[in-house]
């Protein structure tokens, strides 16, 4: 009886309320029906899923204006508000979701590392677990194609460019002195600790208009927004000690790090070619403060201070007793950035970075004091129109004040200059579809010192040719003011510049990446001078030029061998330049025609260990032999280095780490130094420039103390 009355009631109810049928078809942008899309009226229970042929149909009692939602995985959600009758026999075309992993990426010239990237050439841990990298992020990047091995220098040399053509940025702000000071034939290291960063973008050409004053390459580091927990870290190493502490509060966090490195004990046990009076000792501290505002705005302040000291005598063919070189360097760097989300999908990023670098150098009998103060101010506005169209523009100002005081028995001189540059840029990202995307930018720079304005267009385009493959192209013009070592003597210059043309092919499938990139770079207005080294009395001009062209190949496979990841890089480089004091066009001594790396990492479950091997190869670099005719026509022998590292997880929080570079002790030759004068037989004697020591050992013990018993310092290694 009850059931009957309910039924009756329902029937009457239904009769009283008019029903509308919502029906139609859902297709993609090529007209192919989409099956299983969710179609419903917002705020109601009325809806259904589309059938195999994309059709849907459901009844509703709703009246008046309604919003129809259609959502399906891999497509942008469709939403339309209209009178209910509008949704009769409607055809809905869903747009591809361009934010998915399988959408095209504009990537010519660029490698990404970090877990936020779509295609990751390097994973966060790779930075620190690559054999031979010794915990230096620059070392890990040198296993990527496009870089040239210049073992005695340690900095990044990209595609025929010298190290100063690469600029490093943290959170968009320039790092003015990214490398620890060093001297001839002793490779330098990056100053920044790798564990501060969550993402690394390494561009070997064709990069965004947001970045300038770099002819060859930019390295973009993104710092961690929020540390995960409070912890204390203790490191005891064969070369020094380190201590770190992180504190967290409700909206803010502070990380402090201090380390003391002293190579005296190491040099005592394992001496090298140099005669050390005071082996390298450095004290450095870093502090990172982060504050999150209630509206998700974020302020980050990074500051670092380091003091480095060393004194040694190095062999020299022209000086029987060698040349004495002493250095005391103090460096302060502050980088602060602020990011805020504004109304209507606008966001703003503002930052200031500042560096003070003070060096006292004793070179033979001369005393040199260098002081460099630099600052970078920048503001960028971003507008997110849709996932398919973004716009950003901004302005920045670089200030550099450099002064050098040179004193010896006969001279006491001060060289100084201000190099200030005002720039602005605008850039847009457009996705035409999931398969075709472009990035177009324009950058303008005005140099106060050179009194000139330069305009750099940048454009890149990417097309997805298949399910796993894509092609990209990039073009860009890049300007950079001449180096400090010329500006301190002469400022009558124009900016050096280069044009990049890049074509890239990438194939990504299931933990395997193949990437091939061909490029051509055209250098103009390079600085030339007419003396053996750059001197105050030299006459300078911008009459130099050159080119670099080549092919970079990268293959990474994390799949085929169990518990093992490996990658292979190969770079072919053909470059010639007429610059500095070159009498003719020649391949510079920092460029090698063939560079290759193999990196292998293997996790050994039973031993709780990770073992790593890397092998680096570089074909011999050029040098000039004064006993023969010709300039930079001789080639040193090929470079080989096999490196090994081993990390043992004693417990989740204790790690024992061991590494050895150049296991085989290959006698590498980086070049030759010739005597200034011929000997009695009329021959110029020479001395091979070899690494100070063939091998380098490192042993460390790393201990993390935190509530979370699983955290460790793997990322510190």
């Amino acid at each position: 009886m009850k059931a009957l009355s309910l039924l009756l009631f329902t029937l009457i109810h239904v009769n009283l309320i008019s029903q509308t049928t919502v029906y139609g078809k859902v297709i993609d942008n090529q007209g192919i029906p989409i099956m299983g899309a969710n179609v419903y009226l917002e705020g109601t229970y009325d809806g259904t899923a589309t059938s195999e042929n994309g059709l849907f149909s459901f009844e509703t009692e709703e009246q008046g204006e309604q919003t129809l939602i259609v959502s399906s995985i891999s497509f942008e959600t469709y939403s339309k508000s209209a009178e209910i009758n509008f949704f009769n026999n409607i055809i809905i075309k869903l747009k591809d979701d361009v934010n998915t992993l399988d959408a095209v990426t504009v990537n010519a010239g660029t490698f990404n590392a970090g877990d936020n990237a779509k295609v990751t050439a390097l994973k966060p841990l790779d930075i620190v677990t690559t054999a031979g990298a010794l915990g230096d992020f620059v070392g890990a990047l040198q296993t990527l194609p496009g870089t040239s091995n210049v073992a005695e220098d340690g900095r990044l040399f990209v595609r025929g460019g010298d190290a100063e053509e690469t600029q490093i940025f943290v959170d968009g702000m320039r790092v003015f002195t990214p490398y620890s000071p060093s001297t001839n034939n002793i490779p330098t290291r990056g100053r920044l600790s790798p564990f501060l960063f969550k993402g690394i973008t390494f561009s070997t050409g064709g990069y965004s208009a947001e970045y300038g004053q770099a002819l060859s390459s930019v390295l973009l580091l993104t710092s961690i927004d929020e540390p995960q927990e409070e912890k204390t870290e203790i490191s005891i190493m064969s070369v020094g000690v380190g201590l770190g502490n992180t504190q967290k509060w409700k909206n803010s966090s502070l990380s402090l790090n201090i380390s003391y490195i002293n190579l005296t004990p190491y040099q005592k046990i394992y001496s090298d070619d140099n005669d050390w009076h005071k082996p390298v000792a450095s004290l450095s501290g870093e502090a990172v403060y982060r504050y999150k505002f209630n509206n998700d705005a974020l302020l980050k302040v990074y500051s670092a201070y380091s003091a480095v000291n060393f004194d040694l005598t190095q062999k020299d063919i022209n000086e029987i007793d060698g040349i004495r070189f002493g250095l005391k360097n103090k460096n302060l760097y502050v980088n602060s950035s602020y990011k805020d989300f504004l109304k209507k999908d606008w966001s703003i990023v503002s930052g200031v970075s500042f560096a003070n670098d003070y060096s006292e150098i004793n070179y033979s009998l001369a005393e040199i004091t260098d002081i460099e103060n630099s600052a970078h101010l920048k503001t960028t506005l971003n507008k997110y129109f849709s996932s398919r169209y973004k716009l950003s523009f901004g302005a920045e100002y670089f200030i550099t004040n450099f002064s050098e005081n040179y004193r010896d028995s006969s001279i006491d001189r001060l060289y100084t200059f201000d190099n200030n540059i005002l720039s602005s840029f605008v850039e847009t990202d457009i996705f035409f579809s999931k398969k075709l995307a472009t990035k177009i930018g324009l950058r303008g720079e005005y140099s106060e010192l050179l009194q000139e304005f330069n305009l750099s267009p940048r454009i890149s385009l990417a097309y997805k040719s298949g399910e796993n493959s894509q092609f990209s192209l990039a073009y860009g013009k890049f300007f950079q003011n001449p180096k400090n070592e010329y500006l301190k003597y002469d400022t009558n210059f124009t900016a050096e510049n280069t044009t990049h043309y890049i074509a890239n092919y990438q194939y990504v499938k299931n933990k395997q990446i193949f990437r091939a990139e061909a490029y051509y770079k055209d250098y103009n207005d390079l600085v030339k001078y007419d003396t053996p080294v750059a001197l105050p009395i030299s006459s300078y001009s911008n009459s130099g030029n050159g080119y670099a062209k080549g092919l970079d190949i990268f293959w990474r496979d994390n799949k085929s061998i169990k518990n093992t990841e490996y990658w292979l890089s190969y770079s072919y480089l053909d470059t010639e330049r007429d610059f500095q004091n070159y009498p003719t066009k020649a391949t510079p001594n920092f460029a090698s025609t063939h560079n290759a790396s193999i990196v292998l990492k293997c996790w050994i479950e039973d031993w709780k260990s990770q073992a790593g091997l890397s092998y680096n190869f570089a074909s011999g670099r050029n040098y000039t032999n004064p006993n023969k005719r010709g300039f930079l026509t001789e080639q040193a022998k090929n470079f080989h280095s096999l490196n090994f590292n081993y990390a043992y997880l004693m417990s989740p929080q204790k790690i024992l780490y061991f590494s050895i570079s150049n296991v085989l002790g290959t006698q590498n030759i980086n070049g030759y130094q010739y005597a200034n004068e011929a000997n009695t037989n009329g021959i110029f004697d020479r001395r091979a420039i070899t690494p100070a020591a063939d091998r380098f050992f490192f042993v460390g013990f790393f201990w993390t103390i935190s509530d979370n018993k699983n955290d460790n310092q793997l990322d510190n290694l």
Partner: protein, 212 residues
């Protein structure tokens, strides 16, 4: 790290007199889920969520199913697409119900799906995030059995990895069982389940840590 699929084994006591559209919808959605019609279940939860704008449960379940069905996916593009959607659902649920321990635990499960796919790539950043999530959930709801169970399972996974004894964690599992049994099940469609899984782990514990 052993994948935690505890929530997959939900058992619901659903009132037989499902009458409001909400009850009807939820019952139907669970039925679809129970019959492995995961996509349909997610879609229905999504539709219910659009109608019930102040109820976190439909979005929570839509997210949860996306996460659970992401485990064992081999295609990274599909994995991230699904987990991005899952995160959207959970974000929606979290806006409706702030500091909800059940949602916090689901965020940790989402991270676990990424870590299970590629530990080298995602482990470093996400495992720390998970610790923080469990810590937060435990401070909000110290007596929530599911929070204790998930956290303990996570800890056990790490202990096993380092060949440490899991015995200390077995007590936590037993404590979770006590909490499960004490829990008053008052809210319809609330994710109360987990007892079965806790019992299973507990019995394995006893086997592994017994003297022979």
């Amino acid at each position: 790290m052993k994948t935690i699929l505890l929530i997959a084994s939900f058992i619901f006591t659903i009132s037989l007199t499902a009458q409001t559209p909400y009850e009807k919808g939820m019952t139907k959605a669970f039925e679809l889920w129970g019959n492995q019609k995961n996509t349909e279940a997610i879609q229905l939860f999504e539709r219910i969520a659009s109608a019930e704008t102040d109820n976190w449960l439909p979005s929570y379940y839509a997210g949860l199913i996306e996460i659970i069905t992401s485990f064992n996916i081999k295609d990274e593009a599909l994995l991230t697409t699904k987990l991005t959607r899952a995160k959207g659902y959970l974000d929606n649920a979290a806006t409706i119900s702030e500091n909800n321990p059940e949602i916090l635990v689901s965020y940790a499960l989402l991270n676990t799906a990424y870590i299970a796919f590629d530990g080298q790539k995602y482990g470093m950043s996400l495992s720390g995030e998970n610790i923080a999530l469990y810590k937060k959930a435990a401070s909000i709801a110290p007596n929530n059995p599911r929070v204790l169970l998930s956290k303990t399972e996570w800890d056990m996974g790490s202990a096993k990895f380092f060949e440490k004894s899991i015995a200390p964690y077995c007590e936590d599992i037993d404590q979770a069982i006590v909490l499960f049994e004490e829990e008053k099940q008052t809210i319809p469609f609330y994710p109360y389940s987990g007892l079965e899984r806790a019992k299973e782990i507990s019995s394995n514990c006893k086997k592994e840590t017994s003297p022979n």
